[in-house]
Amino acid sequence: MRRTSLAVAITASLLSSACVQTRQYADVQFAPPSGDYKLLVLRPDVTVGSLTTGGMVEPRADWTEQARASITAALRAQQAARGGNVTIIEHRNQLTGVSEQELADIERLNFAVDQSIVDAKYNGNGLPTKRRRGLDWTLGADAVKLGQKTGYDYALFLHAEDAVASKGRVALGLIGLAGCFIGFCAPNVGGQQQLDYASLVDLRTGKVVWFNVVAAGSQVPGIKFGDLRSSEGAAQMVERLLGRMKPGRNVQQAEKR
């Protein structure tokens, strides 16, 4: 009897162990875009897959399409509410006046810079030269040139990946849960995993002015938190990722005074 009640207690705590974490960084001078700004969203990178029983992620073409459409719609709605003028491009040849190669270069540069930001700000390998300086990274002159050529104020890079627990994975978790009652408690085999990140580049200065990561994961399969395929889930993700943009330190201090 005692064992059973313990199992129930553990189960209860595990069931609530689905968690969503977000952590953003901003340039010290950053003020979230507002008013009549022009935002360019470069090829949102969205993939949705199914988490197999054995724990592999099987990409799903239909889910990815659905999620991409939902996220695009949510992004437009959210930015329009802030007064922004948004263009979302899906392929490198869709930006007039800029060659595919130029855009590819910008994307690759941004990817390298993003990796550096993640390494220094999220993985704990902080750089002594960037300590207490907010988000201090730049894409340099190439980004400024892109802004001059196209007339956009900001570029947004967005990545979203989601793995939805398959029926088999949920069943596996259920067997583990059943095991709790006989002493082998393993419902926490790992369920839905979502990772989203975005970086905002000011095309007038070339600087990466804002960066945010949303990591959501559940140890127990079957527990969901925002399905990117649905419009509500996509809107929730966009809100988590981009909705609560905080100004940089200097701007915050100036506001306090």
């Binding site: 990178d45 993939t47 897959g49 197999t52 029983t53 054995g54 724990g55 592999m56 099987e58 990409p59 799903r60 073409a61 239909d62 990815t64 399409e65 392929h91 490198r92 595919e100 190669q101 590819a104 270069d105 690759r108 088999g168 596996l172 067997i175 583990g176 059943a178 095991g179 006989i182 002493g183 082998f184 408690c185 393993a186 085999v189």
Partner: protein, 407 residues
């Protein structure tokens, strides 16, 4: 999975995990796969219809966009057209569906992606002695696509990890119910799963070799060419290891590819089987060399700068089996010069001197020949060499310095 399990008494029981491990070891073939058994599993214009393969293809769209736009690509139209034609020749029913990209990476490699686009590394073009060898590698890569290897290995991996997870969970739950600990068997099963994944991958490689050599022979290329590639690669790795005072790595249970020796032997047996007596097979050496001619200096330059003198020297000597020329002699000198061990300087000087005796000696051969002569105190000859260098490369970045040396 849970700390408490350790307290449960360890009683041996052939159940769960161990049984799963045994079940996974089915269909592991080590015997040679015969080329005549290899038929393409797809026809022209193949498109996926099943859900998992559709997902895989979708994901590859962006990968191909990334590859096609990579700044590592060599986009010379003559070369890319040549490769495209080659994969068209040995690509079987999917000949017209393939895309092929050439990346400037000085390594021996080529790869096929699930949607039918291949990436060939420039280091491969350097190592191939004729078109038949290159066609052999490309036919192997095409074989992966024709035999649907990516989706098959994905499904295999999915099946095995599913089985393992269920087996491990049942072993845990069942074991706890019976009051025994099955953790050891679960670990055994895990190792079994991993090992069977690698061996499945080796089987696919062997299939691609067999499929490839069949396409190669059908296209009229010398089938023996494929086996010699592995002979060359083994030689190169041994030379590289010897120079570094190490032994060449031999195969292990964790290899994704069959060992090079096995592949060489199997391909040799395949070639003997496929060769029709009296039929004339081509190697197309001349056509190959004239096509890669314009980038060959770059390929050699990238190779000698890898700081792997053992491999570089072996490679150059292998290529020279078809005849020395000014370019190969010059880069032989570069290997010595960059290695810079005692006695290498006169060796390099000799190579440069030999290089300039050929009409196709590159300008840099004259430059280094001049510097070597200068060091030997033969300034008159050195000046003549420098003059020749400046004549061939009047806009050289170091022209002013050489002019000063030439006095």
């Amino acid at each position: 999975m849970c700390a408490r399990c350790l307290e449960v008494s360890r009683r041996s029981l052939m159940l769960g995990g161990g049984a799963v491990a045994a079940a996974l070891h089915t269909g592991v073939a080590n015997a040679r796969i015969r080329p005549q058994d290899m038929v393409p599993l797809i026809g022209p214009g193949y498109r996926p219809t099943e859900r998992d393969e559709l997902g895989l293809w979708k994901e590859m769209e962006r990968v191909e966009e990334e590859v096609a736009g990579s700044n590592l690509l060599i986009t010379d139209p003559k070369l890319t057209e040549y490769l495209q034609n080659l994969i068209g020749t040995v690509g079987g029913p999917a000949a017209k569906d393939f895309r092929i990209y050439l990346a400037r990476i000085p390594e021996f490699n080529a790869m096929m992606f699930p949607t039918g686009f291949a990436v060939v590394f420039s280091g491969l073009l350097l190592r191939m002695r004729d078109e038949a060898q290159l066609a052999g590698v490309i036919a192997h890569e095409a074989g992966h696509f024709l035999r649907r290897h990516m989706i098959r290995s994905w499904r295999d991996e999915k099946r095995k990890t599913d089985l393992f997870s269920i087996g491990a969970m049942l072993a845990g739950v069942g074991g706890a119910g019976a009051g025994v600990y099955l953790g050891d068997y679960v670990q055994l099963a895990q190792l079994g799963t991993i090992l069977s994944l690698f061996s499945y991958s080796r089987e696919m490689e062997a299939e691609a070799d067999a499929m490839g050599i069949r396409s190669l022979a059908q296209a009229g290329y010398e089938p023996m060419a494929m086996s010699t590639i592995w002979q060359q690669l083994i030689g190169e790795e041994e030379a590289s290891a010897r120079y570094r005072g190490k032994h060449r790595r031999k195969g292990s249970l964790f290899d994704t590819h069959p060992s090079e020796g096995t592949r060489m032997a199997d391909l040799k047996a395949d070639a003997l089987e496929l060769t029709v007596p009296g039929k004339v097979y081509d190697r197309h050496r001349e056509r190959y060399l004239s096509t890669i001619g314009p980038i060959r200096p770059m390929l050699l330059d990238d190779q000698v700068k890898l700081n792997d003198p053992g491999a570089s020297q072996y490679l150059i000597e292998t290529l020279a089996q078809d005849g020395w020329d000014g370019l190969l002699r010059f880069y032989e000198g570069e290997v010595w010069r960059l290695r810079n061990r005692p006695g290498d300087e006169p060796r390099a000087a000799q190579s440069y001197a030999a290089a300039v005796a050929y009409p196709d000696a590159p300008a840099d051969a004259w430059r280094w020949h001049g510097i070597a002569l200068m060091k030997q105190g033969r300034s008159g000859e050195a000046k003549a060499a420098f003059a020749r260098y400046l004549k061939m490369k009047p806009d050289a970045p170091d022209a002013a310095w050489v002019r000063q040396m030439a006095g």
